[in-house]
Assembly symmetry: C2
Homo-oligomer: 337 residues x 2
């Protein structure tokens, strides 16, 4: 490693004390002549003015991280499309982390905050563990969480009312005369899975419909798992006349199964979904889906982070985005809404 | 900045020389007792063992970058799904950069290599400018390029034979009896756009079909632009009986238009595409699409980068992945291949 320039070799080359090199590289007040000698020695030795040295000096790496659970889920795309230009305009490069729903990966990304690779982080944890909360509290850089976090968590937070979103979908299906409304959900130990599960039961109760456990299947938030869960549900409940899917990927899987089973959508089975991603308009028939305001949530998260980066300490803020139902052919047929 | 721990304050706290602190933080041989005193002083002062200091020491930031043109194009997903686990197994965190086809953003990412945010970079530039080539040559960390680069570019390179891919699609449409085969391409000043354009002409010539400029439209590699280009083409050539689209997003736009125009796919217009992304099986009818081996290209790129990170200098390597045609209903109908 002797070829690696160090503060010692720079000091020798510049003919100044190691303390002077340290002061210069750490951006502390130094005589101009000393600073120039140190900097040219550093250049001559090929010393890389490194991110952390600059972040100690300028407090900026000029990068902001966005940690998402599944790069394959376009719900995050709508967020990225809002976040990236806002950050870029403020002089920050966006770096994405796909954690594959792995809490350990999320913790690793949070740990990266201490290493100053990024000046701030936007994160959408599917599960919020105690370890997450510890890292949030100890974080050396601003964090914005998209999704629900326990009250009093010391981070800026953007959330939506997914319970209301589920209610909008169930009420829509009910208005269409559907009474056997199945529900295909993701894991119940995830924040969205738990919220959607509770909301589905609430919505039925609000409409005076009985809660039938046979009508509920749990898979995962991906297309193949959604297809398998939908197949189990349709096999078990032949008279099912509607399906609510916890996200668009699950709904794609459900459409695959219904097509295979030759069940007409929506005539025999109306299908509604959540997230209103690009996939909702790629699918055939196009999916009625509840928009949880992904674009708005992304914009709000970027604005909160930039505000925090600009103004430092202030009380954490919570921004809530309202869901809305987007009606398409999968519930009302090709003639459309 | 006085609260920021520096090598000087650590030396004072540890009661050792600044040179000793420097040696410890730079991982140079030091007496064990000195090292432990320096490290505990650093801890007590909340000194962040920072990325660049560690990279000077261990030469590792433990991050690898993957720079892609459009996070909204699932062609990159298949690559990420291969790259991420390989890197993770080797102890690297993957960070994604979406450059939105902006060469300046790509250059900015390349510049980031010098700052040691990442130990290596995998990049898919849509355009390779002179600035790119300069940065490739000057890069302080390993780069793997997926896509075509000029001969002799000093980087590891993974490519596919997109010309052969186009030929496979055109020959398939020809075998189906189609003779008026339209082509909807992306910008001709992009590497893939230029290659596909030349390949379409070659393929027609190889089949003894005339090249009719009326049958070619250029838009961009996105769904709305693809729809507009397809609409122009279909409007201009009413007897068109097949459409080749330069990627799946363009094909989705073409299917939107054909549905609107009530042209039956494939009976009246057969549609073939390229990239064979997840979207090909979401679309209705499912898209016949040429796989350019995205998964294989991703795996090869990760393996080349890890090999380079492990073994340093060696001659640049080129890995070529063969395309293959995946036949679905958009060309052969619902009965399938």
């Amino acid at each position: 490693m002797s070829d690696v320039p160090t503060i010692t070799t720079i000091a020798q080359r510049a003919g100044v004390s190691i303390a002077s090199v340290s002061r210069v590289l750490n951006g502390l007040p130094t005589r101009a002549e000393t600073e120039s000698r140190v900097m040219s020695a550093a250049r001559e030795l090929g010393y890389v003015p490194n991110s952390a040295a600059r972040s100690l000096k300028s407090r900026r790496s000029n990068q902001v991280g966005f940690a998402i659970a599944d790069i394959g889920n376009p719900v995050y795309l709508a967020m990225i499309r809002e976040i990236q230009p806002l950050l870029k305009a403020a002089g920050y490069r966006l770096v994405l982390h796909s954690t594959n729903v792995d809490a350990a990966d999320e913790i690793d990304v949070l740990r990266g905050l201490g290493e100053r690779y990024v000046d701030g982080l936007i994160m959408i944890p599917l599960r919020v563990t105690g370890e997450h909360l510890k890292m949030f509290a100890a974080a050396r850089a601003p964090i914005v969480i998209i999704g629900s976090v326990p009250e009093g968590t010391p981070v800026d937070n953007v959330r939506t009312d997914s319970r209301k979103g589920v209610r909008l979908a169930v009420e829509h299906l009910h208005q269409l005369g559907r009474r056997r409304i199945g529900f295909v959900n993701g894991p119940l130990d995830t924040v969205p899975g738990a919220a959607r599960s509770a909301a589905y039961a609430e919505a039925l109760a609000g409409l005076g419909l009985p809660y039938d456990p046979d009508l509920v299947e749990v898979g995962d938030f991906y297309r193949p798992e959604g297809a398998r869960a939908a197949a189990r549900l349709i096999g078990r409940v032949p008279d099912l006349d509607a399906l609510l899917c916890a996200n668009d990927l699950i709904a794609l899987g459900a459409l695959d199964v219904l097509r295979r089973e030759r069940r007409r959508v929506p005539e025999e089975v109306a299908v509604a979904s959540m997230d209103d991603t690009d996939l909702a308009t790629v699918a055939w028939p196009p999916l009625t889906s509840v928009s949880l305001g992904s674009a708005e949530r992304g914009r709000a998260a970027a604005e909160l982070l930039l505000d925090r980066l600009a103004h430092g300490d202030r009380a954490p803020r919570v921004v809530t985005v309202e869901p809305r139902l987007v009606i398409r052919a999968s519930t009302v047929g090709e003639e459309g809404p």
